[in-house]
Subunit: 242 residues, 2 copies
DNA sequence: GTTAAAAAATTGGTCATACCATATAGCGAG
DNA sequence: CTCGCTATATGGTATGACCAATTTTTTAAC
């Protein structure tokens, strides 16, 4: 008889307070703009010390629920949803160039691996999807345009063709970060510099390598492609830092 | 002339500390699993009071960067734990063979990429660390043993030598999943089958390729190594399912 | 010498108190 | 009534103490 004993993590007092206040907000008893009782009052109300209350408020402030102003008071902030970001997103929100480079590099490793696997396992449906997306890109390129969404979808389709669910999840996290940071700016940068034809060629080569069942070639082409992306990103970042 | 006036809000001390620690994590100086200095030490180091440090840690904990355990200490969490692992951890704990295969495959992609990067960037310190760990493995192998911890540490050291903090975090999530599932069983399986010498050879070849600055070779050797791991894992799973 | 139990040191969690900095409210001078 | 000053309320920081859980070291037993 295996008794699964619970994660006896005695909850911290401040966490209890966080939960209570969060509940008040979610129940609408505390509306945006309201001023909550002072730290001292809350402490006596809850029968705890002020530091505990303070830690709770600190956490809620970090979450975006509250906003404290010295001398003024603590107010409920209008939560526009989306304030809850992953740890990863919080890190790159500063657009630290070093981190973005690391991000691009991780992406390079993951996607080239996806291409390798895709070349081994892509089925007819996968290939048809890739061809469809490539046709759209080609059409756009003929008009001198480039849609980030289509580009992104193309890369997703490759990972999907790897038929590895976990790979899909991991890459999704990385990719969404990329989108959230400089994806769009990067695409515009391409258009200005007239690199669209090169991009199109890259994608075609990758697709053909996958269709021809040449894993090593697909990997290599994806690597070349993303190397250029990283290079352009570095240019973009150095320009902006001037 | 538009003068965008700014924030005005003088930054709180705790926020300052939050930024500093976040930066340490993003730059990779604090890696997943590391224990950060105690609250008291940090307070004296930074020249502030303990409550300020505590508030900062509280916020970072809420953000998912840190994890504090009473009496134990405060540790750096892998940034991808929440966003990638949680949904999948439940699936993997059932030891679904399909998912374990996917896991091993993702690991293969990530680690071979780590080896490639490490061969380009490993410094003297990184190499010394690898050699030290290899020596331990060699000694163990001479006695017919194989310690999973040392093996794991060796692979971590390679990723550390890639000098990409994000790569470190992503791989940590994957690796911890691996450890939680079949890592130990796998090691025992090796010993039973007398594959220790082959394992040792693999690790030596990888290490030498990195030391010789041969990225492609390092990648290839890591791939061979992990291919064998995946193969053995498949054997183990099929045996157990009988 | 190895292992297990016990004690000590370390570390996070909580509390109490005091004082500083800032914003708001209220009062008073003009 | 308006402007400016003062008093007060409130968040921000610092110090110190003690508790609870964990880790490490020491000690004792085998």
């Amino acid at each position: 008889m295996t008794i699964v004993l619970k994660p006896i993590r005695p909850k911290k007092i401040s966490e209890e307070i966080v939960d209570q206040i969060k509940q008040l907000i979610s129940k609408g008893e505390l509306k945006p703009g309201d001023r909550i009782p002072s730290e001292r009052d809350l402490a006596t109300m809850l029968g705890v010390s002020r530091p505990s209350v303070r830690e709770a408020i600190m956490v809620l402030e970090a979450m975006g629920f509250l906003d404290s102003r010295q001398g003024g008071g603590t107010f409920v902030r209008a939560l526009t949803e989306g304030s809850i970001m992953d740890p990863l997103a919080k890190l790159v929100e500063k657009k630290d160039p070093e981190l973005l480079r690391a991000l691009a590099e991780v992406r390079m490793g993951l996607e080239s691996w996806s291409a390798y696997l895709a070349a081994q396992r892509a089925n007819a449906e996968d290939l048809a999807n890739l061809r469809r997306l490539y046709a759209i890109m080609e059409k756009q390129a003929a008009k001198g345009g480039w849609k980030p969404e289509v580009d992104t979808e193309f890369h997703y389709a490759i990972t999907a063709a790897s038929h590895n669910s976990l790979q899909m999840h991991v890459l999704d996290s990385i990719h969404s970060l990329f989108n959230a940071t400089i994806q769009v700016a990067l695409m515009e940068f391409y258009q200005q510099q007239g690199h669209i034809q090169r991009l199109l060629t890259h994608h075609r080569e990758i697709m053909e390598a996958i269709a021809d069942r040449q894993p090593e070639l697909a990997r290599q082409k994806m690597m070349e492609h993303l190397s250029m992306v990283e290079e352009k990103m570095a240019q973009l970042l150095s320009e902006n830092s001037e």
